[in-house]
Symmetry: C2
Subunit: 357 residues, 2 copies
DNA sequence: GTTAGCACTCATTCGGTTCAAGTGCTAACA
DNA sequence: TGTTAGCACTTGAACCGAATGAGTGCTAAC
């Protein structure tokens, strides 16, 4: 019974062994198993004593008296923070990632989807990604297209080449020629601006200069702002891959558990909550079970990190899997993939942004 | 033992009773159950005889000798084709559908997604919809935007107001002013055309008239065609709702079955196969178990129908659920929702198409 | 043609036994 | 004092056989 809370070296080794084993088997680990596998020339009885200590300290739990031990959240925490071996991806994995991310993808969202897809294939867990938020993005081009007397189609291209569109419903009646004229004016006046720059002054200015209807200008600008800021609302669009991987892990073969998982994965607001960017840039954030603070996923762990371009476009990618996740593997995969993704983003949009500023 | 294969009235009644019951309970149905519930003043022994006949004729099956009977695919087929009562949606359901489809949706795909969503909520099964195919659609507007010396963004608006975009990679180096000029020319020349009209002659014509680079024109046109025809390739984009409803049905609580279902639902090529438009316009197509001809879903039934606008835009919506599906309810829901959807599409795009022709 | 009655089948349930894994504790040992 | 062998004890899982009961098919009588 160590009277301080610091774990001595041997306890650490034992804890690590238990967790390594548990991650592979999902079965409670007994003292004999560790005694046999561990390099420490130590009997099972001694290990039993140590395990009792570790349980008392809160690193391990016992499903029932005659079963082996299972890691607690605190145990996993310790494991992730200071016990686990770092892992390296195999040559094949690195190649697989590169091949699937480099080059041939033109669209921002397709790239993100692909990154998510790659992560779930490499890790064998479920991966989630949120679409990038681009509130600080500049307007490259705005175009209004006459649809019918009551509707105008607004197409917006941001500096990154993202294309958004929406339909504007008119109060009055419009003529194609008018719409086209306003379209030209707006394109000229708004190009290069960020959403924040769209304000009442600007409307006045344009109105004065060109004599365009104030109401119409107002609804168009509102629409543009909404269209961009949709991306920026508290609910981002979410991409998922490998949800069925959950069935690979015995603790979720029970159909109630699986169901709970799928139900959770459909709840966008909750997914968004776990996907809030955490920590500093480039940091990989690990949350284990109850640390997530959402009851529905207290049996899971999530590993998230954010991708970005400069500081004006940000999104999050993550992995969700059982608490006994292969943390080393997931972390190294996420790290590498995020870097590749960032590189790719830089390639796609990097230079222009520098150039434009 | 009726010597002809035609079922007499009583057998039909019994078969219908059994299937009605089985749909509700998913338990094999015994002769006593039917004797008690049925209006025919007939003893269980007689029903036993009839059931034996029905089994011999292939309408029923017996999981094991001491169990009740279960409908066979042939039984369900008979039920769907001529036995079942038609159902009517409740006032609340009709209202729910109207409220969720009418008005307030601007975008084509959002409307389809919403229809799929509504179907899964009304039926409590999984619903699937394919994005509309629009190969015969006309070009309303084409625009090229200079991105950087090697890339041009092409934005295409179809007559229905669908916005598509893609990035064109250039061989040579382009100047913004050139791009803009070509953009104007193309917009003028291509507006109102269908994809099929984009051919080599047209390229020559434009080249002659404006002296634009042939290579460049060619790659832009290819891109436009590809962009529209993507929609028309053998793999449409698929929208799904209510996949987790599968857990509601006891025959799929077994996690292997659930897993098989989810695995299937991820296989786009298979979903596309079951979603091929069947039968005539407005027809509701029911396929039961093995009739689907895809092993992975031989435990399911699917009900599909297509939505359309004129004859140049078509997509399919469907429901997938257990073979013991509530066919009457699903069929009436699909029927009503498809009609609402078509009305909505007509409202969105109907008049203009007439006008443009 | 219908039905009562009965012997038979067979999946499911339930209690009890055994089994094996694992523990905690004690006592002996280095 | 820390380590270890040994042992009694706990407990979930697996196995087994009997009882249960839903349902059948068949026979014989109506």
């Amino acid at each position: 019974m160590s009277e301080h809370k610091e774990l001595d070296e041997r306890k650490k080794q034992i804890l690590k062994s238990i967790i390594d084993d548990y991650i592979m088997t999902a079965e409670p680990i007994g003292s004999r198993t560790i005694a046999k596998k561990s390099v420490l020339g130590i009997s099972s009885a001694t290990i039993r004593n140590e395990m009792a200590d570790l349980e008392e300290m809160g690193y391990l739990e016992q499903p029932h008296t005659s079963a082996g031990r299972v890691p607690s959240v605190k145990g996993y925490r310790m494991y992730v923070d200071s016990l686990m071996d770092m892992s390296v991806l195999t040559k094949d994995e690195l190649l697989f990632i590169k091949e699937n991310l480099e080059g041939r993808i033109d669209r921002l969202v397709d790239l993100i989807k692909q990154a998510s897809n790659v992560i779930s294939q490499i890790t064998h867990y479920t991966s989630v990604a949120t679409a990038p938020k681009i509130s600080k993005s500049k307007i490259r081009n705005v175009q209004l297209l006459y649809m019918d007397p009551k509707r105008v189609l607004m197409i917006l291209v941001t500096n990154e080449g993202m294309v958004k569109h929406s339909t504007i419903h008119l109060e009055g009646v419009a003529h194609p020629a008018d719409i086209e004229r306003v379209s030209r004016i707006l394109n000229e006046k708004l190009a290069g601006l960020t959403v924040e720059k769209l304000n009442v002054q600007l409307i006045h200015e344009i109105q004065k200069e060109f004599g365009v209807s104030k109401d119409f200008l107002f609804s168009v600008m509102m629409d543009i702002a909404k269209t961009i800021q949709n991306e920026n609302s508290n609910e981002s669009e979410v991409f998922m891959n490998g949800t069925t991987n959950i069935f690979k892990y015995q603790e979720f073969t029970d159909s109630d558990k699986a169901r709970a998982f799928f139900d959770f994965m459909q709840r966008n607001e909750l997914i968004n909550r776990i996907m809030l960017p955490q920590g500093e840039k480039g940091m990989i954030d690990v949350k284990i079970g109850s640390e997530i603070k959402i009851d529905e996923v207290s049996d899971f762990s999530i590993v998230t990190t954010s991708y970005s371009l400069g500081d004006y476009m940000v999104g999050t990618i993550g992995v969700i899997g059982p608490k006994r996740m292969e943390y080393p593997k997931v972390i190294s995969a996420m790290d590498y993939i995020t870097k590749e993704l960032n590189k790719e983003l830089e390639k796609m949009f990097g230079e222009e942004n520098v150039k434009d500023d």
